[in-house]
Amino acid sequence: MVCGAGNLSSPQGGNISSAWVGGVESSFTNFVSNIVVARLAPILAAFCVLKAALDAAEGHSPLGSVIAGIFLLSVSGLVQLMQSWNSGSEFATTDMLSSAWNFLTGTILPEAAGLAVVGAIFNYARHRPFMPLVGAGLAFVSVSAIWRLCEAMVG
């Protein structure tokens, strides 16, 4: 059935009247919840931890793999967080992006500043450049202001 103008103007509640489609939805939901989120993601996170150890053994930074593991372990919480960002309006996409930007600048980057300080100390001890990490740490705690600076430069 092709959706007509009347269908588009009515609010979409997401209800499924067909039993067959409802069964498909239930199977897919169970697959995502019980297989992907509950079992597959923790296993992949464990492999990320193993990869972090192997990265460190090769002399590379293990941080990327550790953060990927944390991301995989918290994927259900992230989904709920993103669902809370969905305004449901015609601007839902841009609202999501705006909320993601605020989450990044207000929550994630100040924590990343702490990782930058740790990395700077390690680089200093190993005679590697550490000032870029100090500058990045400063930028992480003031990235909104840098955005305002760009806006002021353009405007």
């Binding site: 944390i70 259900s76 992230l78 994630i108 500043a113 300080v117 740790v118 100390i121 705690v141 003031s142």
Partner: protein, 151 residues
């Protein structure tokens, strides 16, 4: 589970658990380099910085909080504050250290550290080896009693 909490706990674990532990390793390496007559100040500073990891982050945050979050000059002000801090706090402290070194050099003590008979260096290195734990406790004491200087 929350990604932000995971990242926060990772940062806290690295800064408050791992770095103070690694400080002992840096201090031991500094003592070894000192006993061989090599430059050891770099590793000694790294050990002190590892103990001060949390305080250094607070310093960066205080540099970044000198202006409102939407102030376009905030990054410039934070770099300006960093420069002022280096110029007005760190360099005078470094200057005091240089004055002390000048007096010690004039007294001829450091000649026994680097050239000729190195018995002073060996003696100090042995004392540091026996008292590494005490040196770390001393560094922690300085840092715990220096938190009043962090704005």
């Amino acid at each position: 589970m929350n990604f932000a909490n995971g990242l926060l706990n990772l940062t806290n674990w690295l800064g408050n658990v791992i770095m103070p532990t690694v400080a002992g390793l840096f201090a031991a390496a500094a003592i070894y380099h000192f006993s061989k007559g090599r430059h050891f100040q770099h590793l000694a500073c790294a050990a002190l910085a590892s103990l001060m990891c949390s305080g250094l982050l607070r310093v960066l945050e205080s540099f970044g909080n000198q202006a409102a979050w939407n102030n376009p000059d905030r990054y410039w002000i934070s770099i300006l504050t960093l420069v002022n801090w280096v110029g007005n706090v760190l360099l005078p402290l470094y200057g005091v250290g240089q004055v002390v070194l000048a007096v010690v050099h004039y007294a001829g003590l450091l000649e026994r550290m680097t050239i000729g008979e190195a018995w002073v260096r060996n003696l100090v290195a042995a004392m540091c080896c026996f008292g590494l734990s005490g040196i770390l406790r001393l560094g922690e004491f300085w840092i715990q009693h220096g938190t009043a200087g962090v704005p």
